[in-house]
Assembly symmetry: C2
Homo-oligomer: 199 residues x 2
């Protein structure tokens, strides 16, 4: 029988490059799938509904909260984000590891409910680089960027319950580290059943 | 300033293929070095003094024990094994991770003295395969092989304090897992200092 899969929670400041790292890391892995979050935020240019996020309006989001359809949910810079529960449960039961890209508030909810979840925090290599990336997007006002920078430091200070920290100075290198973390966690002594346990 | 390196302890039954896995895993890594153990056992064919082991006589071994020159030492199938302390300390202080291939008794001593050491247990894919590998060596009598098989199961039962378990069904795959474990452990949140901690 296959073991139940494990949750891998990825967080980090907006502009840390999480999506790129995540998709590079799980490319070619058949044991990991990505859980797409729902959000009330408007799509950015190039974002596709169902790929980066499921984009919903506030009314539908509230309905999902009321019907307990979300594993966690949180507000972040005036938008709501959540993780659809059904998909995650289904994949875990099928023995797949499920990767979530969520905010620290939601991550804390997961960590408390499922202490065995693997928590990974990704940060950009420097404050200047974070600023540069946020400005490069051209989607935020100067004030929104300032809010994100303050928020980044706050999040980091709240992130001491994470197991791993990846500094994304190079997406390929960061993806290799995330890949290694997933592989290493599969090698946990407590996760593996072996022939030596047979009587 | 560089962080102090970490100890990575590898154990597993004789015939698990530990040496091959270890040398494949650290090939090309500049952040890991291998600590060669001392032993009173006679060299097997092809083994080189200072590579697989430092081969010493019982008198010299006892002298090392008496002078506290060994980080751990243990007896295994009527031979003595130990880890020279000076080399390990020197490498750790230089920021290198140090890999030890030692028996479970010695590993327990390390685990108690240095709970932050990373403990990895390597086993062969099956009892039949273990038997086949030990017989293939042609160095042990049937009785010695029987003793090793009994010992293998005992060791495994005592090994629940290990962090990771690798099943060596294929040396390249097993080496990739060990490599991933070393990389992942370097990503531990508590190990990494970052720019976000600056005031």
């Amino acid at each position: 029988m296959k073991n139940r899969g494990r949750l891998i929670v990825i967080s980090g400041p907006s502009g840390a490059g999480k999506s790129t790292v995540v998709f590079k890391a799980i490319e070619g892995r058949t044991d990991v799938c990505f859980s797409t979050s729902v959000t009330t935020r408007k799509p950015r240019e190039g974002e596709v509904d169902g790929r980066e996020y499921f984009f919903v309006d506030l009314e539908r989001f509230q309905e999902m909260v009321d019907h307990d359809e979300l594993l966690e949910h949180a507000e972040y810079v005036a938008n709501s984000y959540g993780t659809p529960r059904a998909y995650v449960e289904q994949q875990l039961n099928a023995g797949l590891n499920v990767l979530l890209d969520i905010e620290v508030q939601g991550a804390r909810q997961i960590h408390e409910k499922m202490p065995e979840a693997i928590m990974v925090f990704i940060i950009p290599p420097s404050l200047d680089e974070l600023k540069r990336r946020l400005e490069g997007r051209g989607t935020d006002t100067a004030r929104a960027i300032e809010a994100r920078l303050i928020r980044a430091r706050q999040e980091y200070q709240e992130a001491s319950f994470y197991n791993y920290l990846i500094v994304n100075d190079d997406a390929d290198h960061a993806a290799k580290e995330l890949d290694a973390i997933i592989t290493a966690e599969d090698c946990r002594f407590s996760n593996r059943k072996t022939w030596l346990e047979l009587p």
